[in-house]
């Protein structure tokens, strides 16, 4: 069984770092590549389905990496992550509701594109930075 010192040594200063950012970039690249392919390449129904699901393994790897990183950090970092995720969840719910009401109010064209992932990523980064600043 790993000791706490060994776990801390593995996670360095106790933060989510470059491996997770790398995984996120890989997942984003897979998503962009799949979107581009679906939009610009003529494919059969089966191939389109395969391309649509192609980014999922990259996202699964990213999630696994985040999960492991958060579990290996110390209690303060876990608290910062929890608060950041709560902020992200609440903010995303608010943005989704606002988007829905924009559409109901007749601003369909303006509300057509809803960058959900970008909003979530932005809120998460803001939440983590605010937490780090608070406990600096």
């Amino acid at each position: 069984m790993r000791t706490m010192k060994e776990a801390a040594a593995e996670c360095g200063p106790g933060r989510i770092g470059s491996p997770q950012i790398g995984m996120a970039l890989l997942a984003a690249a897979a998503l962009i590549a799949a979107s581009w392919t679906l939009k610009h390449v003529e494919l059969g129904a089966g191939a389109r389905l395969a391309v649509a699901f192609a980014p999922l393994p990259a996202y699964a790897l990213f999630l696994r990496s985040m999960w492991q990183a958060i579990r290996s950090t110390d209690e303060l970092q876990q608290r910062i992550q929890l608060e950041a995720l709560a902020f992200t969840f609440g903010g995303t719910v608010l943005a989704t509701i606002a988007h829905d009401y924009l559409r109901k109010a007749g601003f369909g064209a303006a509300a057509e594109e809803f960058p959900l992932l970008a909003i979530m990523a932005g809120l998460y980064i803001v939440g983590v930075l605010a937490g780090r600043r608070r406990f600096r």
Partner: protein
């Protein structure tokens, strides 16, 4: 919660990084506890007390 962690660490001439390594936490956590921005969990408070050979209540005390 008030604490005497900074004084105790100074008594051992340890840096925050050194104490963090001994407690298996990040330096940021040690700093946040010392500046009383963060109250440690009970297990961490006991680890701190054990490291300095004191009881938890000799290091931590509630705000008035």
């Amino acid at each position: 919660m008030k604490n005497r962690l900074r004084a105790l660490r100074g008594g051992k001439s340890w840096s925050q990084q050194e104490l963090a390594q001994r407690l298996a936490v990040s330096r940021q956590t040690v700093n946040a506890i010392e500046t009383e921005r963060y109250d440690p969990s009970l297990p961490l408070a006991f680890r701190i007390a054990h490291l300095f050979g004191k009881r938890v209540e000799e290091i931590f005390e509630p705000d008035a």
